[in-house]
């Protein structure tokens, strides 16, 4: 079952006097509960694609359906609402809120985005803290934990509202290889346990091998031979 479907999707930016064609009419389908990587060098269009899928940006042309919703034309408020209800995000720089503890960072979307009752919140956060193995650090601030731990917290925060889709833009770029590998493993484990679809971007060849479906992006286009499930994972 297709969770995300892009048809002739294009994105053009205006940089001064010049048009930059970040994504050039790509077609792709991503199924539910899959573990997908967009792979390519810097400037290949990975982040632009993830931004469009995450309703952070609008396509210039083409059609993009996410969870049966045409997200191409959502206005700012509707897009924010869609993100808050259905999507989770993991960022390259972790982007935790520095004034909140680990526990409160995970709690943030449950309070500020969705309005969960306290007891339900507590149970969810406890479960996620255990899942990402951060229970011991629950009351630490982001500046008191390591990069790998921060990314684990970010994954827990992304999963807090039980989204159907988590988008991770270069989630391992700021981590050493071992930590990066563990983060990818954690994401996969979460996918297995919760059935959440994970779509991430990377340019690290060692990490991209962990994905079950790989889309190779080059110069704004998806390489035709990619986008199928990798044999050993399928």
């Amino acid at each position: 079952m297709a969770l995300i479907c892009g048809e002739h999707l294009a994105k053009t930016y205006r940089a001064g006097e010049v048009d930059v064609f970040a994504v050039k009419g790509v077609d792709f389908t991503i199924n539910a509960k899959s573990f997908v990587a967009f792979v390519g060098p810097s400037g290949s269009g990975k982040t632009s694609l993830l931004n469009m899928i995450g309703c952070l940006d609008h396509p210039t042309a083409g059609k993009l359906t996410v969870l049966d919703t045409d997200v191409s034309s959502l206005d700012r408020r509707a897009a924010a609402n869609f993100r808050g209800q259905h999507l989770g995000f993991v960022f390259q720089d972790f982007n935790l809120i520095p004034v909140l503890t680990v526990y409160e960072n995970i709690e943030y979307p449950l309070i500020m985005v969705q309005n969960w009752p306290e007891e339900k919140r507590r149970k969810q956060i406890t479960r996620l803290l255990e899942a990402v193995n951060m229970s011991e650090q629950a009351h630490k601030r982001p500046d008191q934990i390591s990069g790998g731990q921060k990314q684990r917290v970010a994954i827990a925060r992304a999963l807090a509202t039980n989204p159907q889709l988590v988008l991770a833009d270069e989630p391992t770029a700021n981590l050493d290889h071992d930590t990066a590998y563990r983060i990818i493993e954690l994401m996969k484990k979460m996918r297995d346990e919760l059935g959440t679809t994970f779509v991430f971007s990377t340019h690290d060849p060692k990490i991209m091998g962990e994905a079950e479906v790989i889309f190779n992006l080059e110069d704004g286009r998806i390489h035709p031979s990619t986008g199928k499930a990798v044999a050993n994972h399928a």
């Binding site: 931004n51 995450g54 952070l56 940006d57 700012r76 408020r77 924010a80 609402n81 869609f82 993100r83 808050g84 209800q85 999507l87 989770g88 995000f89 960022f91 720089d93 982007n95 809120i97 520095p98 004034v99 909140l100 943030y108 979307p109 309070i111 500020m112 985005v113 925060r157 992304a158 509202t161």
Partner: protein
């Protein structure tokens, strides 16, 4: 909302030094304004009570044209008995009136048998005068304050004149006055007491019994120069003024706001309105004046109010600039963070409320601290009893006090301005494009 406030508080704590600096500015501003309002207000109230309780009363009724010529104390513009009776009847109908005192004012020569000088004299009924201007006995600097303030044949001599003429309590002096018909009359008096001078009109007048004044002027009927009126509650000045003007002149007079406005805004317009009489008894119309119409201090009181307004405007400016500066910096420094919370689905309205809450908390914190300090200082000033001199009056005790409504107004003003100052930065944060914000370096 509690969570928004919690996060806002932590954000403020995160930039502790900046928050402290801004809060300190707001606190200092609040302290300055509240102290100024308290001290200036008390000074104003004290000076007003000096005029109203020691000399003028709250209101005065004269025959039309008398006040315009008051420097010459014109006897031909005294109120006739019929007019006096009319005024007394009108006053008896007004519940707000506590007391009133009829006065005969005379310009006379004062002689100690070796030297002569001019003096302005108030002929008074001692009992009615003390009921109308209760601070009169308190002005006695030499001589007994016990018993009636004045008996027939006695005079209260103003301090400066007594000093210049070397007159002491118990001395005999002579007053010589020209009556309405032009004949000169004299009468001896015993100095009952020496009176402290009061700044303002009639503050250096002497006092004799009204019967003696009439005898000196050989008045056959009960003419009166003015009737001074004391109100139970000075805040009712506007209302009583309007009622009395209506009753005596047929014109309601111009009513301003109660309280300060009554003491300040009653000059000129109000007096003129009261002057537009339909003609009273006694061969001419009557006019009603508030103390502010008769005292130059009304201008000073207006200046105090103006200064207070300027100080408030300065406070508003300080709060506006400092809070706006902090909030603009807060938004600029947290662009990526705004991008993050926006990306994870925080509605723009919540981002707006988060930054507004930060500005609001800065305002509330500074205001709460400033108000507490200001009230403590006002309390301390009342304990220390600071004295000052005003004109000829020495050792006036400063008793600063502030009305709860003034505290509420200043506090509300600061909090609202803090909120308004955060509005633009908060709005900018809430409208930020998440992709641009996340890409901000």
């Amino acid at each position: 909302m509690l969570n928004v406030i919690k996060i806002a508080l932590r954000n403020l704590a995160r930039f502790g030094r900046r928050t402290l600096l801004t809060s300190t500015l707001i606190t200092l501003g609040i302290v300055s304004v509240l102290l100024f309002v308290a001290v200036a207000g008390s000074f104003k109230a004290m000076m007003i009570s000096q005029f109203t309780d020691a000399v003028l009363g709250h209101l005065e009724v004269h025959r039309k044209g008398y006040v315009a010529s008051i420097d010459t104390l014109p006897l031909n513009l005294n109120m006739k008995p019929s007019a006096v009776e009319r005024v007394e009847q009108a006053l008896k109908k007004l519940d707000a009136v506590e007391a009133y005192s009829s006065r005969v004012k005379i310009g006379a020569m004062f002689s100690n048998f070796t030297e002569t000088t001019s003096i302005r004299i108030n002929g008074i009924d001692p009992q009615a005068e003390v009921a109308t201007t209760p601070m009169l006995p308190g002005r006695i600097t030499e001589g007994s304050k016990e018993g009636p303030v004045l008996k027939r044949g006695e005079i209260l001599v103003p301090q400066l004149l007594a000093r210049g003429m070397n007159v002491k309590v118990g001395d005999t002096i002579v007053l010589v006055a020209t009556n309405r018909d032009g004949s000169v009359n004299g009468k001896t008096f015993t100095v009952r007491a020496i009176l402290e001078s009061v700044t303002g009109p009639s503050g250096r007048d002497g006092y004799i019994h009204i019967a003696d004044a009439r005898e000196l002027l050989r008045m056959k009927d009960g003419e009166v120069s003015e009737i001074a009126i004391r109100l139970k509650n000075p805040a009712q000045l506007d209302r009583v003024y309007a009622q009395l003007s209506q009753e005596l002149t047929g014109t309601a007079g111009k009513s301003g706001n109660a309280g300060t406005a009554a003491t300040v805004n009653q000059s000129g317009d109000a007096g003129m309105a009261g002057t537009a009489s339909k003609g009273g008894g006694g061969g001419g119309g009557l006019e009603v004046h508030t103390w502010a119409d008769l005292s130059p201090f009304a201008s000073l009181a207006r200046m105090i109010d103006l200064l207070t307004l300027f100080i408030k405007i300065m406070l508003v400016s300080i709060v506006l600039v400092s809070v706006m500066n902090v909030m603009i910096m807060a938004v600029y420094e947290r662009i990526r963070e705004i991008g993050t919370i926006s990306a994870i689905g925080t509605p723009p309205s919540k981002i707006l409320s988060l930054f507004l809450a930060e500005g609001l908390l800065l305002g509330v914190g500074g205001t709460a601290l400033g108000t507490a300090i200001a009230l403590a200082v006002i309390y301390a000033l009342n304990i220390w009893k600071i004295t000052f001199n005003f004109g000829q009056q020495h050792g006036l005790v400063l008793s600063p006090s502030i009305r709860p409504i003034d505290v509420v107004i200043v506090a509300a003003m600061v909090v609202i301005v803090a909120l308004l100052a955060s509005l633009q930065p908060a709005w900018k944060a809430s409208r930020m494009d998440p992709v641009t914000a996340l890409g901000h370096v």
